[in-house]
């Protein structure tokens, strides 16, 4: 890696820019990586995937992963901008959480307060049924939901959450009425499906892979099929323009110097392009995306509009 850096520097032949980097040796100590949830969740797992690569691309600095769970992430997000803004503190952020929470309640922060520098992956929504389910295809599912409105039950994690949103968006597109049963955490939601307490689950590609043969994946909310779920069609293939899921990114306190923000974003970008990292993410069911600082404004504007339209379906009032 070091030789690579030298190579880049000498090939650029612009001593100035190299000097500028040299003058600020950022990052020059361990970076705090705060997860706004408890350990063991997908935010934690993906941070753990990044951890070894961070050392590789940051010039030897490590990240210290910490947990500050509470109020679905709001406890940590409301404190982010009060933290040390020297670039050595960053925090995971999640969509749709950071858009919906401030709409819902006095969450202690506003969506735009959170200075997300990079959205690095997303977990696409997936509609799953038990392997013994009579629903063999998405068409079976929608037909049943239309035949007896409200009788088809779908489990998911939390209310006004990513799963609730996917359910609302799909119901609207398909003209169906299903009953959403919220559970505490993905584990409980999956248990309800495996125990046949509910007809289907709004989950993610990750849970589809984790549950394996025990479930059947009816469709995924991706542009193209997921490499590890080749038999599961996309909603688009079946005529529904549904793409979405939970997006995960990294934010830093707003007062962090711009050059350090850019440098951090650069490290995350490099990790995101490491073939070994991509392979790990894909194997676990994630989909790597690259929304860096240059695309951030455009992306957030688009996503806020999309969520704003769906919010009324969930009974949220957009302020």
């Amino acid at each position: 890696m070091k030789t690579m850096k030298h190579l880049i520097c000498s090939s650029l032949l612009v001593g100035f820019s190299c000097l500028a980097i040299g003058a600020d040796n950022f990052p020059d100590k361990t970076i705090n990586y705060i997860i706004p949830f408890g350990p063991g969740g997908e935010s934690d797992v993906t941070a753990r995937f990044q951890e070894p690569f961070f050392k590789k691309y940051s010039g030897g600095q490590t990240v210290a992963i910490q947990y500050r769970a509470g109020a679905g992430g709001a406890a940590a997000w409301s404190q982010l901008n009060g933290m040390t803004a020297d670039g050595h503190t960053m925090m995971g952020t999640n969509l749709p959480h950071i858009v919906f929470q401030p709409m819902e309640t006095n969450s202690g922060y506003k969506t735009d307060d959170l200075n997300t520098i990079y959205w690095f992956h997303f977990t696409p929504d997936a509609l799953l049924v038990h392997k013994d389910s009579p629903f063999k295809t998405l068409a079976d599912f929608t037909a049943a939901a239309k035949a007896s409105p409200g009788a088809v039950t779908v489990s998911g994690t939390g209310t006004k959450s990513g799963n609730d949103l996917a359910k609302a968006r799909f119901d609207k597109m398909a003209g169906t009425k299903t009953s959403y049963i919220p559970f505490k955490g993905t584990g409980a939601s999956n248990t309800a499906l495996l125990g046949k307490q509910v007809s289907a689950t709004w989950g993610y590609t990750t849970s589809a892979l984790q549950l394996g043969d025990q479930v059947r994946c009816l469709a995924v909310a991706l542009e193209k099929r997921h490499p590890r779920l080749p038999d599961c069609p996309t909603f688009r293939e079946l005529g529904f323009d549904l793409i979405g899921g939970v997006y995960r990114g990294l934010a830093v306190p707003a007062a962090t110097p711009k050059d350090r923000q850019a440098k951090l974003a650069g490290i995350i970008e490099k990790i995101n392009h490491d073939p070994e990292f991509i392979q790990k993410m894909v194997d676990a069911g994630y989909t790597v995306i690259d929304v860096g600082p240059s695309k951030m404004v455009e992306f957030m504007t688009k996503i806020k509009k999309e969520y704003g339209e769906a919010a009324s379906e969930l009974g949220l009032q957009v302020k």
Binding site: G70, T105, P182, T191, L211, G212
Partner: protein
């Protein structure tokens, strides 16, 4: 025995070393109030990434097992459960310590934990795939009834006044509603403050309810913090073994209850030890001794909570559904390792799974010497420490522990407020346990009720959903019996007395 060929992988010097290190780390973290088994596992997960998956699992399993057992130290010596699983260990452990039998209580806890851990591990080894289906038979409605059943235990647990116990339980239930509702997302009783959005945390409430009143008493009374009768033995193994042998049925029953509760996602060590404790008391010939330093109480609580370790791994490994909160962290670690859990795990990755299971069983056995040694050290240093040093150090630990829950001052503040409240309530004869029960079971009951009601509505009959399912019916019968038990036993006693006269 399945997978016996992998036994040797679990007894290599390195595997044993890892198991010992894991147990020691777990015991120490678990013994500190506020630092739970989940935290112990989470903190030490990164160290396992470089290891072979089987060994990594042994390390995590050993830490988990050690932490659950470690909770007994502070429960017995300080009346503060080191982890929520050890709540019931305080009931008899602390009275024993106060009358000078702390060493015996610690030895009992160690033996019971080892045997509970072994029984849970053997179930995991022999019957994991069939037992995993138990987890799936429990739907929202069953959790609702199970939580209600747990609440009826208040009547058999509360010392003295049942009415005061019931009031305490209601306070706990009310506390459990604070914050953003898990199901439905409504914001309740936060008074507009962000600090309460996350609700009242069980661990910080535990520290406040149990530890703060003890601390205040410690400072407010001039007597020494522990009565010492005669010579202090380091551990009373022979005497403890006699108790354990006499209580073999209690031990087996509690371990089986612990294993089954461990299998149920959403329940955990605290509920396992609670159910076992109340069953032990109900079956005992001297129920009146429970809560006053009865060895059977410690045996029930400690064997049950350690049996949840093996039980909890059953749905984790077979279904990919974590049985207990620490299992969720371990499941995350497995995903990072690239291991896909599921029924096929036992055939496709037999070496990893069986190495781990044997490792877990060996770790439970290793807990015996380690536990006795650490217990001896903890007990002796606690006796020697002057009160003037003990009180501030424990006070410091309570703040540290509650802060560590979410690395946030909110929980530390909650702990202090709840602790002050508990002390005042204690003056009026209210005990902490019903409040904790209400707090833990309230959210389980609420979630189960709302989900069950929604599913029932979708299916067309709410009544059928709640009363028409076989497991629900069994729990309802247990619930009714549990509710009537104090009345029936009182009547039986009266009759006995009449007969004697």
């Amino acid at each position: 025995m399945p997978g016996i060929e992998y036994f040797l992988n679990a007894v290599t010097p390195f595997a044993l070393l890892i198991a010992v290190a894991g147990i020691v780390a777990g015991v120490v973290i678990g013994a500190l109030p506020g630092l739970t088994a989940t935290m112990a596992v989470a903190v030490l997960v990164p160290f396992t990434f470089g290891m072979d998956p089987g060994i990594a699992l042994i390390a995590l399993g050993a830490i988990y097992m050690g932490a659950i057992y470690g909770g007994a130290y502070s429960a017995i010596l300080l009346n503060t459960p080191g982890t929520p699983s050890a709540i019931c260990t305080t009931f008899d452990g602390y009275p024993m310590a106060k009358r000078g039998d702390g060493d015996l209580a610690l030895t009992l806890a160690c033996l019971a934990s080892v045997i509970g851990g072994l029984i849970g591990g053997v179930f995991l080894l022999m019957l994991a795939p069939p037992l995993a289906t138990v987890a799936l038979r429990f739907g929202p409605v069953e959790y609702f009834w199970l939580a209600l059943f747990g609440l009826t235990l208040i009547s058999s647990l509360s010392e003295g006044s049942v009415v005061k116990g019931a009031i305490g339980g209601c306070i706990g239930l009310l506390l459990s509603t604070i914050g953003v509702a898990e199901v439905g997302g409504d914001v309740r009783f936060t008074g507009g403050s962000t600090a309460l959005l996350g609700g009242i945390d069980v661990v910080s409430a535990l520290i406040g309810l149990y530890c703060v009143p003890v601390l205040i008493e410690l400072v407010a009374t001039p007597t020494p913090h522990m009565q010492l009768t005669g010579r202090v033995a380091s551990f009373r193994l022979v005497e403890a073994w006699r108790h354990v042998r006499a209580a073999w049925f209690n031990l087996t029953r509690s371990s089986v209850i612990g294993t089954i509760v461990g299998i149920l996602p959403g329940a955990g060590g605290s509920i396992a030890s609670l159910v076992s404790y109340s069953e032990a008391r109900r079956a005992s010939k001297h129920p009146e001794n429970f809560g006053k330093g009865e060895p059977d109480g410690i045996i029930a609580s400690e064997s049950a909570n350690n049996a949840t370790v093996g039980g909890g791994f059953i749905p984790t490994l077979v279904l990919g559904i974590p049985g207990t909160p620490p299992d969720a962290v371990i499941l995350g670690a497995l995903m990072v390792q690239g291991i896909r859990v599921g029924p096929q795990l036992f055939t496709e990755q037999a070496d990893t799974v069986y190495t781990f299971i044997y490792g877990l069983i060996i770790a439970s056995i290793l807990m015996l010497p380690i536990g006795l040694l650490v217990g001896r050290y903890a007990f002796q240093s606690l006796i020697r420490v002057p009160k003037a040093l003990l009180a501030p150090s424990v006070a410091f630990m309570t703040v540290l522990g509650s802060y560590a829950v979410h690395n946030n001052t909110h929980e530390a503040l909650q702990m202090v407020v709840i602790g002050g409240f508990a002390w005042v309530m204690g003056r009026f004869g209210f005990t902490a346990s019903p409040i904790v029960l209400g707090l833990i079971l309230g959210s389980i009951a609420e979630g189960g009720f709302v989900q069950g009601h929604m599913i029932g509505t979708a299916k067309g009959s709410v009544l059928m959903e709640f009363f028409g399912r076989p497991i629900s019916m069994v729990i309802i019968v247990m619930l009714v019996l549990g509710l009537l038990y104090p009345l029936l036993s009182r009547r039986a006693k009266k009759k006995e007395r009449v007969n004697e006269q």
